[in-house]
């Protein structure tokens, strides 16, 4: 089982965002908005999580009008278990990067200032 020490603070933010709606497929920009991470930080994290089998990815089905197809992500069952274990042992507050919206969000017990 994954513990807190296995994940960086930024990775925990991504896990928390994915954990908020574990059944839903999320896209990269949405996760970036939720976490305040920049694309150059977010995607390497997603890649590492996918390499470890904690995140699964797929392309959006069909061709949406007016925009390219999106790559979608969600936690695998193993990823969900690891994320919940890691988030449960996380210090209450983690600070997201410079981006993001104002206010404060709480996702599955992980709270961060934006």
């Amino acid at each position: 089982m994954a513990g807190r020490a296995e994940f960086s603070a930024q990775t925990l933010l991504v896990l928390a965002a994915l954990c908020a709606e574990p059944r839903e497929w999320l896209h990269g920009y949405g996760i970036a908005r939720d976490t305040g991470l920049k694309s150059g930080s977010l995607y390497p994290i997603l890649i590492r999580l996918a390499d470890r089998g904690l995140v699964e990815a797929r392309w959006e089905e069909g061709q949406p009008a007016g925009r390219p197809r999106r790559h979608l992500y969600r936690l695998t069952s193993e990823g969900l278990a690891s994320a919940e274990a890691a988030l449960a042992s996380t210090p209450v507050q983690a600070r997201a990067g410079a981006g993001g919206r104002g206010g404060r969000r709480v996702v599955r017990g992980v709270r961060w200032a934006e």
């Binding site: 896209h27 990815a57 790559h71």
Partner: protein, 139 residues
């Protein structure tokens, strides 16, 4: 020309990683135009650079280890009867350990961040030292 740049950059990545960069480029249109979109795309360039250079970094490490082995083999004094032999052996071992250790130390001290760039100086110094060792051994 600029429109095709992301696709060209993506080709620098290993084939199994390209979908990730394509995903990032595909999302760029959803990011508000202006600085935010520019930053998003800059992140894509960073991702490509990171993923394209990582396998090469591993290759360089193997090359470095092979060069170190050759340097030791070439510089190792043949006769233990020589007065200077223990000192020379000590010099060879110290030099190789130093050359191998400096880049690792630089990366360990500076990670996370642009570790590769920060480690480039010690790595270059290591290669120079290795060349120096080989020239010294040959002379």
């Amino acid at each position: 020309m600029l429109a095709g740049l992301p696709r060209r950059l993506t080709r620098l990545m290993p084939a199994e990683r390209r979908a990730w960069a394509e995903a990032l480029w595909a999302e760029a249109g959803q990011v508000p135009a202006g600085l935010a979109r520019l930053r998003w795309r800059a992140g894509g360039v960073r991702l490509v650079a990171r993923e394209a250079l990582l396998p090469r970094r591993i290759g360089r490490a193997i090359l470095f280890a092979a060069a170190a082995a050759v340097a030791v083999w070439a510089a190792w004094p043949g006769s233990s009867a020589s007065f200077a032999t223990p000192g020379v052996r000590g010099y060879v071992i110290t030099m190789v350990l130093l050359l191998a250790g400096l880049p690792l130390l630089a990366i360990a001290r500076i990670t996370p961040g642009p570790a590769a760039a920060a480690g480039a100086g010690p790595v270059s110094a290591g290669w120079a030292g290795m060349a120096n060792l080989l020239i010294t051994a040959a002379s």
